[in-house]
Amino acid sequence: MFFDSDLLMSALRALTPILLAALGGALCERAGVFNIGLEGMMLMGCFTAVATSWFTGSPWLGVLAAALAAAAYSLILAVGTVTLRGDAVVLGIAMNLLAVGLTSFLLRTIFGVQGTFDDPSLAGLPLVGGFSPLAYLAWAAVGVSALLLSRHVWGLRLRGVGEAPDAAATLGVSPARYKYAAVLLSGVLCGLAGAQLALGNVTLFSENMTAGRGWIAVVAVMLGRALPLGVLLAALLFGLAEAAGFRLQGLGMPQQATDAAPYVVTLVALFLSTAQRRRRNARTTGVAS
C-alpha cells in the first residue's frame, strides 16, 4: 500500500523543519513584517548546529547555538525593515543569498571541505519515541503560538501592530518593539528548524542543504493565513509530499522527478488558494456591503 502509517511517520519527520520555520514566519506576518528570509536563517541554523555539535560534542549545545545564531542573523531583517524602513523583500532575498555564501565559505575555512561535511563522530539528536525532541517542540509550539496570538495580551497587541501600526502607536503600543520581538522569535524558530534539519533529519552539513524548505515555509504561512493551525496543515501537506517523493523514488521513479514533489505541491496549493480567494473577493465586492 502506498499510503500507510510509515508514510505518515516519515511525513511527520519531514514536516518539522518547515513547521518551525513557518511558525516564525506566521508570527512575523501577524506583526506586519513580510519575512522571506526564513530560508537563510534556517541555513545559518544548520551550519551553526553542526559546527557547535562537532566542536563541543553536544548536539544540545548545537541546538542552542543554532537558535542564537539564527536570531542574531534575523536582526538584519529587524533593523533593516523596522529601524531603517528598508524593503523586506529585498532584505529577505539578500539574507538568503548571503547565508548560502557565508555557510559555504565557513565550511571551507573551518572544516576544510567543499560540498558536504559528514563525520561518523558528529553527534546528532537522539530519537524519542521515533521522533526528534525538536519535533515535539514544534508541535507544542503550534499550540503555544495559537494561544499566544488569539488569547494572550501580547498576541492581541501584536496582531494590532500588524494590522494598523498607527492605531497601535496612538494607544501607546510601540510597533517597533513588537516587530523586533516577532522577527527575533522567527529567528529562534528558524534556528531550531535548521538544527532539526542538520542534526535530526540527517547528521551532516552540506552547502545549501535547506534546499528551498524556507521558501516552502513562506508558502505555508500564506496558505495557512498566518494562523498556527493553518500553518500546521500546510506544513503537513508539504511533509506528505516530501515523504511521498521518497516513496516514489523507492518505486523506481527518477530522483529528479520525485525531489520536485514538494515544489509541485507548493505551486498547485498556491494556485488553488489564490483562485479561491479571488472567487471570494469577487463575491464580497459583488454584494458591496
Partner: protein, 564 residues
Amino acid sequence: MTRRPSDTPAAAGGVPDGTPAAGAGPTAAGGSLPPALGGLPPAVELRGITKRFPGTLANDSVDLTVRRGEIHALMGENGAGKSTLMSVLYGMERPDAGSIRIDGVEVSFGSPSAAMAAGLGMVHQSFKLFDSLTVAENVVYRAEPRRFGLVDRAAARRRVRELAAEHGLAVDPDARVGELPVGLRQRVEILKLLHRGARTLILDEPTAVLTPAEADALFVVLRSLTARGRTVILVTHKLREVLEGSDNVTVLRDGRVVARLRTADTSGAGIATAMTGRAVELDRVFPPGTPGDVVLDVEGLSTAGVHDVRLSVRAGEIVGIAGVAGNGQSELVETLAGLRPAAAGRVVLRGEDITNASATERRAKGLAYVPEDRHAVGTAPAASVADNLAMGHHRTTLSSRHGLLPPSAVRSHARDLVERFGIKASTPDVPASALSGGNLQKLLIGRELAHAAPLLLVEQPTRGVDIGAIQAIHDELIAYRDAGHAVLLVSAELSEIRGLADRVLVMYEGRVTATYDRSDASEATLGLAMAGGAERSADPAASVGAPARTTAAAPLDTPAPDGD
C-alpha cells in the same frame, strides 16, 4: 487578576481605570488644588500656543478655553491651524511656546499616551481601528482586562456592553470592526476612549463620513456625554452642526484666534465671515438650468456594487447623485468613465453605445471626468502643475505631429488654465503635490472643464476644500452647465447637491432608490432616502444591515439637541 474594569463601577463617574490612566489623573497629581465648588477650572485651557513649521506659523499665540461639560467647536478653514492646535494638545507636537492646563493643572505631553493618561481622548478623522479585530478587542486594546495573563474576553465584552448601555452607543462587542458601517466604527472609537477614562473627547471632523441621521445620533450621544460631566471638543468646518450642536465656538484663521462666540448668540454667516475674513453667502442655491437633448442615457447598468441603474442626463442640466459613501456611487461613475467593466446594461453617450468602450474612446466621444480621489487618480502628484494640466489634452489640442508635446504649448496651456481658474501656484513648474487641497482640486476641475466635453462626470468636487474654493468651483460648474453641457455630480454634501442639481437621484446599496426634482429634494427627504428610508420595496437583502440602520436612524424621532 489585577485590573478588571467591570469591577469598578466608579468608572461611571469618569474615574480612569485603564492601564495608562491609573493614578495619572490630575485629581491625583494636583493635590494642592482646592476641591472645586462652583468655580471648576476649565477642562482644557491653552494659553499662547505657538507652533512654527518651516515656512509657516501654524499657531500664533492661540488661546483656547473649554469649560467642563460643554461641546466646544473649533472651526477654521483648511490650514487655519485647527489640526496643529489639536496635535499640540494631544501630545503629537511640541509647542514652541505656550502652556496647556487640564482641569487647572499645567501639563506637558510627550506623546498621545501621556495625553490619554490625563483624561484626553481623540477620535481622528481617519479612524485608528484594527479592522480584523472584534469591537471588544479594539475597545480594550492596551488596557485589557486580564485573567492569568490572557485577555479576559468575557470581561471585555461586559465592559463594552456597560459603556454602550450607559451612553447609548449600542454596538455588538463580537462584531469584526472591518465589517461595521462607518457610523458604528465611530462608536467603537468613542467607546475606546471612554474605556480609557477619557473625560475630554476631541472629535476631528466627526460627521464627514456620516449620514444626516447618523450625525444626529452622534450629537445625541455627545449630549449624553456632556450631561455626565464629560467635555467635547469638536473640530469641524461644517457650520450647521456647530450651530445645532455646540455651546461655544472658537474660530481660527491663519493660525490666530479670530472669534470666540457663544453659539446661541451667533449665526452661520457670522462664523463663516470670521473663518474666511470676508462676507460669504452660504449654501447658495443657483437658478435651475434649461435642459436640452439627452446626452447620457444609462439603462439597467450593473457591475460589482451597482445594480440595475437607470438614469439620463440632458444637456444644460446637472443631475446630482446623493448617497452615503460606499453605496455604489464610485463604482457607478467608474463604470461610466470606463475604468470598470459593466456586467450588464447599456450606456449611451450622445446616441452612441459606449458600454464596452475604453476610457480613451469615451473621452474622444465627449466625456470628461473629475475623479473622487484627486491625489491618487485625478493627478500625478510628482509631476509639475503644467504637466498635470496637459494630461488628457495631450491627445487633442496639445498634440503635434510625431507625437511630441511642444513645451511652449504645454506652458501656455498651463498659464491659461492657472489664470482662468485661479490656481495658486508659484510657477507652473512646481510639482502638483505642492498645491493645497483646494488648489489641486481647482487644477483638476479646470483641466477637465477645459475639454468642454458634452458630458462631465464629477465626484465630490469640494471635499475637504475651503469655503472660498467651494464657491469658485460651484460657479464654474454652473457656468459649464449654462454653456449647454451635461453634468453628472456625485456628492456626499447635501447642501451641494441641493444647491447645484436640477434633479437628484439617491443611491443606496448600489441602487438608485429615489429620484427627486430639485424642489422636492428637502434635506430631510434626502437624508431619509440616503439612510435607506426610500427603499420600502421589501428587498430581503436589505435586512442584512438592518439593526445598524435602525439604531442609527432612531434618534431622528428624539428632539434635536438644544443649542445652549
